[in-house]
Symmetry: C2
Subunit: 222 residues, 2 copies
DNA sequence: CTAGTAACCTATCAGTGATAGGATGGCGTA
DNA sequence: TACGCCATCCTATCACTGATAGGTTACTAG
């Protein structure tokens, strides 16, 4: 558990012989970009984000390390792009749930389980959006565009507002309600992602237990 | 918001003239160790953990960068020591609450508010214990000794067990209950620490709202 | 007064993210 | 078919990182 990176179990520095570099040479920009994101996603999941160097990514793709910078300005930009790609799928999931023709309580539970499932499935993207160390004492104001997860949260908040309006959620400030609900879901996901080696016991049962508590806590008692 | 470090707003590389190195020369081991931890704690809070280099720490202390390694094997060990020192204060806080002669509901609320207050106060230590990227696919089993926060969680879990035994918390698996409660508190702390620039609105009110929901959700309805 | 040793130093290492500037291959156009 | 453009990709290198090797210095026990 190094703070910066793992000893990184040496990856081969040169491309393996069965993946000749000529074969992947000269991809079109967009294709290469997707290529990079796919390999980075896999490496981030295996070695962690800080534990994955740009050279490891480039080597996996089959290009030189500086070539990455033709597609992404920084490693952080690469990570953000990866996160954005993943979160767009969460947004569409939330969108499908919001427009689904099912009772409000079912919509509520589906959204909660969908969020948790997404976070655990897309661990790397989720970490990038919500768990990495951000700027500490930054002067500039918060810019939602640079944090892809925030758009998904906006959709989430809108659905919370609607459910509350329909009388299915407890009363009070919608912002507080959405943020508190977010915190409750995030806590579970963040701990499971950050401390997978903790003796959780039956994780599935733990998740069910937590979801049940959330359902009871935020839904209208009436 | 770099993934690794900030541009780090250059700290002076040499000790300032008004803090002559001779004055702090040759401290006894334990004192120097505390000295290092104090400076590291301040720097971690200001620049983030990844954003604080060992040279910045050494320079702040007034010793050479390799001298740090006489007291800590790695930068990670330094961070863990810092975290352990902070968490021992959380443990004693939990201990005081557990032995306080106040009604169970008050003990419960004091513990929740104490945990949240600690996490937000000791942001750097809290991040080190519960939010940093751990090993991803580590084979070796979980070792509680190396994670100082885990001892505090054990105290926390014990109090949850007692409160449940006394009938003040909802029934069910004590492990699930403690872990779910932990997740609910952690989610709030982790989001506030990781995304301080999010438009939270009135943070104090948000915390109160969340605590109220937790109190209602986990306490016995009877 | 003299070891012995803990504390500290300079010099250096491999690895990191990022930049500068040159080589190359495929495609639209003449 | 031939030309020239330029996106793509490369090698070489930068400053900086965490960490190690090995020598120097000052306090202290005998």
């Amino acid at each position: 558990m190094t703070i910066y990176r793992k000893k990184s179990a040496q990856l081969p520095t040169s491309a393996p012989a069965d993946a000749p570099r000529a074969a992947v040479h000269r991809l079109k920009g967009a294709d290469r970009r997707e290529d990079i994101l796919n390999h980075a996603s896999r490496l981030f999941l295996t070695y962690g984000i800080a534990g994955t160097s740009t050279r490891m990514i480039a080597n996996a793709v089959g290009i030189s390390q500086p070539s990455l910078y033709a597609h992404f300005a920084t490693k952080e930009a690469l990570a953000n792009a990866l996160s954005a790609r993943a979160f767009s799928s969460l947004e569409s999931l939330i969108g499908r749930i919001r427009s689904a023709d099912i009772p409000a309580p079912a919509r509520f539970e589906a959204m909660i389980r969908g969020y948790i499932g997404f976070a655990l499935d897309q661990g790397a993207a989720y970490r990038i959006a919500f768990m990495l160390e951000g700027p500490m004492h930054e002067v500039e104001a918060f810019n939602p565009d640079i944090l892809p997860g925030m758009q998904a949260f906006a959709s989430f908040r809108d659905e919370v507002a609607l459910l509350q309006l329909e009388g299915h959620l407890r009363e009070g400030s919608t912002d507080h309600l959405a943020q508190s609900l977010w915190a409750s879901m995030h806590g579970l996901c963040a701990l499971l992602l950050a401390r997978p080696d903790f003796p959780w016991g039956d994780v599935e049962a733990m998740i069910d237990f937590h979801v049940e508590i959330i359902l009871a806590a935020y839904q209208n008692k009436a």
